[in-house]
């Protein structure tokens, strides 16, 4: 809204819109619209990823050499905005946005060759093994153990322990994991970063159902799993540096495009909830002002994100901006879901699946179900990827250091 597009950017936007018109099917749009969790479930999410891959747009932020697009920061922003506005299914970032940058920065050419193409095409689907039951915010306290060994089939690690909050482990065929390969010294020392197939013997996945009843999360158990040593990324016991590098990518990225799309959805929901004479209801006016306030917060976050993108395009390090973005983006998302529930009112009370809404004349309103499911699911936003309390610690540490 604040930045008018240049002629080139307008052409690019039209190109994205034309592509969406053709490639984003009604079924995919419905899946995107009904995604009340963090990411769309694998079937639709990955279908959409494959469609994008056909167009060369599945991993736009990657270096061109690996199949990225070489777009400007503004092009990425436009792309994200248009996808969000068109209800494209939100894709899980574990492969393209989390492990891929690590593989590019720390992996060998062989590892890059082995793993990056599958992420780009959608042939492979990754999950993240970071948190453990005893190691959440204090991630460096992780205990999942990997012991190096040698047998007839070559060098390997024996993996024992458990990982938790593993999003989409039930769909993933590959996993990246932080494991303890040495004890003693500081807890940050002795951590390694390894990748392996989920099909290996000894891996068990237990579903964890979230507040909304959705199944996104899992606990993964390792019972003497034999992981080939070729899955080790970087040096053994040097995984903490890689872990932090990945977290910057996990927390980075732009929030405003999706938040703005959600804001518009709320605006539509509000108009629907107070039809005709309902506009004179004082509650309608109150809710409109709440929307106006959230609009200001989205504008501010967008300005901050565009500023950061411009600085990074000029080579500035991300600094503390991923933490600031994570705090603002997640708390704004939570504020939006909270307002959505207030807009939905009694329509938010049924506890039903989204695909049960609609068609039946005695059916319930999809928007109400979506509002509550989002509200419940997004309580996780201030917890995942490092709690917002931890992010505030990081921001304060940065302030007090500089």
């Amino acid at each position: 809204m604040l930045t008018r597009l240049t002629p080139d950017e307008a052409i690019f936007r039209d190109e994205v819109l034309r592509f969406l018109d053709e490639a984003l099917t009604p079924e995919l749009r419905t899946a995107g619209r009904r995604c009340s969790g963090i990411f769309t479930d694998y079937p639709h999410g990955n279908d959409w990823h494959r469609v994008l891959a056909q167009r060369g747009w599945s991993v736009p932020k990657w270096p061109v050499a690996h199949g990225g697009t070489g777009w400007t920061p503004m092009q990425h922003y436009i792309f994200a905005s248009e996808l969000a506005a068109a209800d494209a299914p939100p894709r899980a970032p574990m492969g393209p946005g989390m492990v891929a940058p690590v593989i590019m920065a720390f992996g060998t050419p062989t590892q890059q060759q082995a793993w990056l193409p599958g992420i780009r095409t959608g042939d492979d689907y990754w999950c993240q093994g970071y948190s453990e039951p005893g190691a959440g915010s204090d991630l460096a306290g992780l205990q999942c153990r990997a012991v190096r060994g040698q047998d007839g089939d070559g060098e390997h690690f024996r993996l024992n322990g458990t990982k938790i909050w593993t999003t989409h482990a039930q769909y993933a065929n590959r996993m990246f994991c932080l494991v303890r390969t040495a004890s003693g010294g500081k807890p940050q020392q002795g951590i390694s970063f390894i990748c392996f197939d989920m099909a290996l013997a000894g891996i068990t996945v237990r579903p964890i159902h979230s507040l909304s009843g959705d199944h996104e999360l899992n606990q993964v158990f390792f019972d003497d799993v034999r992981v080939p040593a070729s899955g080790l990324i970087g040096e053994e016991n040097q995984g903490w540096t890689i872990a932090k590098y990945l977290l910057q990518h996990e927390r980075g990225g732009s929030w405003a495009p999706n938040l703005r799309a959600r804001w518009r959805r709320l605006e539509g929901a509000l108009e629907d909830a107070f039809p005709g004479a309902g506009r004179s209801d004082p509650e309608y006016g109150d809710l409109r002002l709440q929307l106006a306030e959230l609009h200001c917060r989205i504008e501010a976050l967008q300005a901050l994100e565009l500023r950061t993108l411009r600085a990074q395009a000029c080579g500035a390090p991300p600094g503390i901006s991923p933490s600031i973005g994570k705090i603002l983006g997640t708390e704004l998302k939570q504020a939006l879901t909270e307002l959505h529930v207030r807009i939905a009112g009694p329509a938010a009370l049924p506890h039903a699946r989204l695909d049960e809404a609609g068609a039946d004349p005695l059916g319930v309103r999809e928007d109400g179900l979506f509002a509550m499911a989002s509200y419940l699911n997004d309580r996780a936003a201030s917890i995942y990827a490092g709690t917002n309390e931890v992010q505030r610690n990081l921001v304060a540490a940065h302030l007090l250091l500089h």
Partner: protein, 393 residues
Amino acid sequence: MSFDDFSDTDTALRDSLGRWLADHIDLTRHARADAPPSPPVWRSLARDLGLTGAGLPESAGGLGGGLRAHLVVLRTLGGSLCAEPYLSTALVCGGALQRAGTPLANHLLAAIAAGDAVVAWAHAEPGARNAARPAACTLHQEGAGWRLDGRKSAVTTAPWATHWLVTACIAGSGASALVLLDAGSPGLTRRDLRALDGGWASEVLLDHVALPEVAVLQTGQAADDNIASALDAGALGVCAEALGVLEKMMADTLAHVRERRQFGVPIAGFQALQHRLADMHIAIAQAEALTWAVADAPDDAGEAGSTTNDTTAQSRALAVSAAKVTVGAACRTVGQGAVQLHGAMGVTEELPVGRFFRRATQIELMFGSSGQHLRRIDRLQAPVRGLAGAASA
């Protein structure tokens, strides 16, 4: 705070003004509520730095820096609580005079750029709560000229002004008018009151003030448009000023929590305080990013682009309001946080932080309160779509 968006020109402007302020403004005494009235920094700004025309057009003898230069100056002045009279004179009145464009207006504009004129913006009226259209001041046609009667309220810079820009409505038609007054005009009575921030603002009675015809610079829709632009310029101006005010409070607070020891350790080590510091910093980061984004947004209706002028004007108004609301929230988060983290010293006149807090509090109420700007956003929002949404909405 990062200035990564600043051009070399911006940085040079900020640095030279910042050095000058550090040498000339004693913040331990400046803007105390018990300080005697003193004329604000203006002549010396012109004499030593030639900055009174920083944002004014070169045709008027200014440096041609435009809105961005105005805002860089105001941000820097804000850090020393010296925004007035630059805010009223150069930004608000300077802009209004430039838009009015009459020979008299251009003449005064040149006097501002030279540092010779100080102009007060007399728009607010008693009880009017920041209404955009004047109602309590009336212009009557009298012979070849005009007569002005009525009340104006909270006119900053008035005690030192050489001229006044007064908004009024024309008797009979009710059309708005923009009127230029000499500060010494007979019939103009002032009561100067100490303002919250340590500056001065005046309650004004206009009683049979006689004016020549040329003193009425604009009338009707042109005057309404000009007044609206001036009010938005003022709103954006105090946003930029607030950045300087807030940055100073943040710096003082960080220094204080590092220094202050309780329970045997610096209080900077306590997590509750750290989280408050983080929120203060984040509030400034947002206010900063949005203010400059609005400053750099297209303003000129003649620029290339597919949007109509109406849409441009509307999205600009929307953007200014969003910035004002964001800055208002930051004024509270940072101001209240700074006072809290300074402890009891924060609620005294002993330290600058209290005076900066008062100015921050005042800024939120100037040129439209947060509530008024939120309502304007709500009014304007429906037909305007976001960054990339127009085609897909």
